[in-house]
Subunit: 485 residues, 2 copies
């Protein structure tokens, strides 16, 4: 396991947990839901990419809001740091305890009830520990769509989705987790419960507390439940794979499709040739959608609330015009659901397909949509300057201005030596992002991974305001310390 | 002019402005933009409905962000309360100084530049003092739509729209002012400038500061500019007027239209027969859209990004099915733009049409959409219990769950006596709202009008968190004191 340069951690030895305190916490949830010992806590202190590893004397798995409230009261009383954790799929270490051994993990998975599906208001009220895919299934059975769609949806949880303001492939038409949330229930550091589980589309009664907790990565309170928006299931959906010459053509095609299809354009994913080549080489069963290896490719999805025929006609008219105007060089529209799934599987495989190619330095950036071609050009130069021969692996949610701009090591370089360039490469790419007034974390959040960079590069006034909020909400600094701010 | 029971005001005599301080403020903007004297300040201390009247020794009309910054620095140094004001169209007194004579009005109208229209990113960057209608015109000339649409758009300003998170008739498809804003520039009470003018659809770098300032009604800082989303102009638009038997039928018709048209359903306004009768009686040129006086009527709008024919076909298919299923009793689709405008004018005239009918007690409520029929039934009983014979004037943005539930006085009652029931009537109607987990201010905000009620009835934990934010952002309490919180 590789553990990259971690941000400085505040080791809070003064708060180290003694057995008596562990027993008091355990008594709240019951012994069988209070995990101690290296083996039992291991799944909660390591994560899939092997980047962040923590230490904890105690993982609590509460089964009710009342238990969480009691845990937080005790944590405040004893100044015990609490690290809320959902499905443990976060990519920036926000869900990991530090290595002090003084932080308690609060795992939300047992708080997994869907409290209500309201078909007339088109809302679902779900607890934080509901797994995203389970929510999809539950609302699908009543002919509704909850559009948040992530690679990790088989294990990520609603509370984590909201705390990290998750994005994914459907943001273009439906917005990110923030936009899909109407109301929340939060346990504050004091144990008090803020019940703001409203189903309202309009509510102007004071400051927007909901949007403070959403995206705060568990540093202000513990989201325990939320009211989420549902949509009618599209009656038709068409998936297309397009070959193009350049990012400029992709941008023009995006504008054409947006103009013609409006909110019926539900995905627009840009993918360079290299990540596709990696997937075709390394992922079993991967099939090239196009006959030729176009330097840039786009995965598009059109959804229609009207009919399957309507989705088909829309996709065809946009793509025909794209071909006529020579924005698109080649087009394949999936002829059946199996082919559509294969397109999406190829897209989802792009991350894993990098692993056999050695070390990968990752970015999750966004810029104004119109700046995507310029970013791609400038970032490539920046990468080459840091590490000649490094291989850019560029793909992402172009319609949102969001690219997962990853960089695989040069073929013959030592992996460890390459990964030592992580900070320098991040800085070089992020300098381009900052120059274009973009974001160094479009959808993954700050966690512990990007905290130092955020603090060092964000406008000091913004950081100051965030710190004031943190101090106002969590004066004892027990909520996920060392993360975000 | 009637001035209703105002919330208690904190008279801050200790801060009363002397001439030397007035001169220092005036020197920042130049004498010609520093208004003093009763006559000069009168337009800034009274408002159209005549509900709130304030007193100020000084109205400042700065012409740049630098001047606003200097004003706020001086205000912090001297603890001078500042009341930011946009187009002075707010309905809850948020833009009015109190009657202490110690509050300075900061009128934003000269900060009225459209800094940039970015056609590729579909954004406009506008200063706070840009009048909404001027923004509409500017983006219309480049074939774009900024969908925020309000009755006051000829005089309201972008800064006020954002500070009050304005709603209006297009929220159903496009969201309210909050959802239309990508980035903001804010001058803090200290005079520091937070530049967050980003064009990003995704940005997860710390707490959501933008959404704190949006909707804060100028109590946390002064919004000076914003990046706003633009949309392609619809290629087709159809307006329909529908007669129905009941709110239940309106709800079913709304669900039918949402299901068929999705985001192409861009307005769904419910109107009871009485407000229409008032408008036909009192508003010159008002014409009844339908042949009969249906007890409930709906104004619907369908917009298509594809073509005029598409919008027409969509409207016809939804409304035909509505008639077949007997949800709609009668339907007229506007046959030309003039008729469509006449429909909308009738809708916009509903407020003014109440005036000749005597005193009106107003509400701006929202409930979950599915609860609209229940709200209408229960609220009518509550009104009758407070004042037998009072005439409910119910209309609003039903698609958003938002009704302007006004109550005109009984025909023969003395107006002053009726208006004395304002607090009792508000309480009775708002009790129904609270029972249905709704909002007592869906789109107008809290201002000074609803502050006491918010503080008395909102969950104490929420109020406590809001107060902590206020103290953290504005420790000297100079930003619009006496408003919201």
């Amino acid at each position: 396991m590789t553990v990259y340069a971690a941000p400085p951690r505040r080791v809070r030895e003064e708060y180290e947990l003694d057995q008596a305190l562990i027993d008091r916490f355990a008594a709240i949830v019951g012994d069988s839901h209070a995990l101690t010992g290296l083996e039992a806590v291991e799944p909660f202190v390591t994560e899939q990419r092997g980047r962040f590893a923590g230490v904890t004397p105690l993982v609590l798995r509460p089964g009710s809001v009342a238990e969480i409230s009691a845990i937080m009261r005790l944590a405040t009383e004893t100044r015990t740091p609490i690290v809320p954790q959902g499905g443990n799929t976060g990519l920036v270490g926000g869900q990991m305890p530090d290595r002090s051994g003084a932080q308690v993990v609060l795992s939300m998975g047992r708080l997994n009830q869907i409290r209500e599906i309201d078909l007339l208001s088109n809302t679902v009220t779900a607890e934080a520990g509901v797994i995203l895919e389970n929510l999809h299934v539950a609302v699908d059975t009543v002919d509704r769509l909850y559009p948040l769609s992530l690679g990790s949806q088989g294990s990520c949880e609603i509370g984590g989705n909201l705390s990290s303001n998750a994005g994914g492939v459907n943001v273009l038409a439906y917005g990110n987790a923030r936009e899909l949330c109407l109301g929340i229930e939060v346990v504050l550091p004091t144990g008090e419960v803020l019940d703001d589980l409203r189903k309202l589309k309009k509510d102007n009664t004071g400051y927007d507390l909901k949007n403070l907790f959403v995206g705060a990565e568990g540093t202000l309170g513990v989201i325990t439940a939320a009211v989420l928006k549902l949509y009618p299931k599209p009656k038709g959906r068409e998936t297309a794979w397009v070959g193009l010459k350049s990012p400029e053509n992709a941008l023009a095609l995006f504008h054409l499709a947006s103009d013609r299809a409006g909110p019926s354009l539900t995905a627009f994913e840009l993918i360079a040739e290299r990540p596709i080549a990696f997937a075709l080489k390394h992922m079993p069963g991967a099939i090239a959608p196009l006959g030729a290896a176009w330097p840039w490719q786009v995965l598009m999805e059109f959804s229609s609330g009207r009919s399957a025929e309507d989705a088909r006609a829309l996709a065809e008219s946009v793509l025909e015009e794209g071909l006529e105007r020579e924005l698109a060089g080649d087009v394949v529209i999936a002829s059946n659901i199996a082919q559509s799934r294969a397109f999406w599987r190829l897209r989802e495989d792009l991350s894993d397909a990098q692993k056999p190619e050695g070390g990968s330095i990752k970015h999750d950036i966004s810029v104004p949509v119109a700046m995507i071609p310029i970013f791609i050009e400038r970032a490539a130069q920046a990468v080459e300057a840091v590490c000649p021969g490094a291989r850019v692996v560029c793909f992402g949610h172009m319609g949102d201005g969001n690219l997962h701009y990853n960089v695989s090591q040069p073929v013959s370089m030592d992996k460890t030596r390459y990964l030592e360039m992580y900070p320098a490469m991040n800085k070089a790419v992020h300098d381009v992002v900052r120059d274009l007034n973009g974001s160094i974390s479009a959808e993954h959040g700050i966690g512990q991974m990007k905290r130092d960079e955020l603090l060092a590069t964000a406008p000091p006034i913004g950081i100051d305001l965030m710190r004031r909020i943190k101090a106002a909400f969590d004066p004892a600094c027990i909520m996920n310390p060392g993360k975000v701010i």
